[in-house]
């Protein structure tokens, strides 16, 4: 029910709307709940509305953390 996913904004339309893209699938959504979105930004889409911008640097940090955890585990294991 809380289904939401990151999508890339490819075009800003009038009326606080935008076209977003997910791997070639494009859809018109509302940006009325977020501020300062630019083309190229990733937003979290839920029931036709962007709920937040995605912080791409934090995303990378999280992925790095996963890798680090794994390597720690491997280091600790033996």
């Amino acid at each position: 029910m809380c289904l939401a996913m990151p999508v890339r904004v490819v075009e800003l339309l009038g009326d606080e709307n935008a076209i977003v893209d997910l791997d070639g699938v494009r859809k018109e959504i509302s940006l009325a709940l977020v501020e300062g979105v630019a083309v190229g930004d990733y937003v979290i889409l839920h029931v036709g509305h962007a709920l937040e911008k995605l912080d791409t640097e934090e995303a990378q940090r999280t992925l790095d953390l996963f890798a680090e955890m794994a390597s720690q585990a491997d280091g600790a294991a033996p």
Partner: protein, 346 residues
């Protein structure tokens, strides 16, 4: 004076009328100018209550499907070609060579003749390309509001070689599960047009006649256990059907199942599982393990099977569960489609 002169139909602006289903002159005209004109062949042209056909030789296979897809026109096809493919494929997956089609139309009063002509022409093209004539048919017209434009039921008759014996009941532990190509294209092509949801995507229906592919496969591997086209309910339901019929379980590999990126993305957007999304031009093949490689090679060599893959294996399981090993290496149950998830796709 010509004895039964009738003013030609208005093929551009005309609409289907109740009189065209009443059994009189108007019906004869519709049949002549729309159906016979596009689909005509020596059998259909007999003009009797059914078609008289040569002896098919050995055993026969009969399959029937009503087509109620909405919308009627979609990326990659329409209800006309779908009605040909949908039934031919059911004949083909029985291992039979499709010989003849019967087509029965239920038309809604007011349906634009131009659309009907487009549909029947598409049907004619699909039948011609498949080499399977529509030999007999029927047309009914119902009042406006009592149907949804056009429904087409097709029935296919094919001949079955004595040495072929395919059934959903023949899967055995150890057998390989093969798929002829990516799943979900058809269902998602329809979904992309669904009112209120509409998205733009480079997705076209995979609707296609599979009997050529089946022939190639059976010629190469006559010991195939079972074929099935994963239509309504998707791959998940098809595998559950076979498992239940054969009294076996299966394990499929998520990473091995081809799904086009746009289909995967559309599923993500809608919260759907590609395993539940219909195909109309894909084949599920259950094959003895020692023939897997040959089967895969045969499929891959055919234009409709280029992306074929070995996706899983049958295993003993009295509970007939279909399981999936995810990309993570974890297992999960793959259940039948539960409830109704998609618009009318076939």
């Amino acid at each position: 004076m010509k004895p039964d002169y009738v003013k030609p139909l208005d093929r551009r602006h005309g609409r289907v009328e109740l009189s065209q289903g009443a059994g009189g002159r108007a019906m004869m005209q519709l049949i002549g100018e729309v159906f016979a004109r596009a689909l005509g062949n020596e059998y259909l042209n007999q003009g009797d209550d059914g078609a008289r056909l040569p002896a098919p030789g050995g055993r026969i296979v009969i399959a029937t499907d009503a087509h109620v897809v909405s919308p009627l026109f979609f990326p990659g096809g329409d209800i006309g070609c779908l009605a040909v493919h949908g039934t031919l494929n059911d004949v083909a997956v029985m291992g039979a060579t499709p010989l003849y089609l019967a087509a029965s139309f239920i038309l809604e009063e007011g349906f634009p003749l131009a659309d009907l002509i487009r549909i029947v022409d598409s049907m004619a093209t699909a039948a011609r390309e498949a080499g399977v004539p529509v030999v007999t048919g029927d047309t009914k017209v119902v009042e406006a509001g009592k149907a949804d434009g056009v429904f087409i039921t097709t029935t296919g008759v094919g001949s079955l070689r004595e040495d072929v014996d395919l059934s959903g009941a023949h899967a055995r532990p150890g057998d390989g599960v093969l798929l002829s190509g990516p799943i979900g294209d058809h269902g998602m092509a329809i979904m992309s047009l669904r009112e209120g949801l509409a998205f733009d995507a480079p997705i076209v229906s995979d609707t296609a006649a599979l009997h050529g592919l089946v022939k190639t496969l059976l010629d190469a591997v006559p010991t195939i256990r079972c074929l099935r086209d994963p239509t309504r309910g998707g791959l998940a339901s098809t595998l559950n059907e076979i498992s239940r019929q054969s009294g076996v379980g299966m394990v499929i590999e998520e990473a091995a199942i081809p799904v086009r990126p746009a289909v995967a993305a559309a599923c993500e957007l809608l919260g759907l599982d590609p395993l539940n999304v219909a195909c109309e031009g894909r084949l599920v093949v259950i094959c003895p393990p020692e023939q897997e490689a040959a089967a895969l090679a045969a499929l891959s060599a055919h234009p409709l099977g280029r992306e074929a893959a070995l996706v899983g294996r049958v295993q003993a399981d009295p509970a007939c569960f279909v399981q999936m090993r995810t990309r993570f290496g974890g297992r999960r149950h793959v259940d039948w489609l539960s409830g109704e998830q998609l618009p009318r796709i076939c």
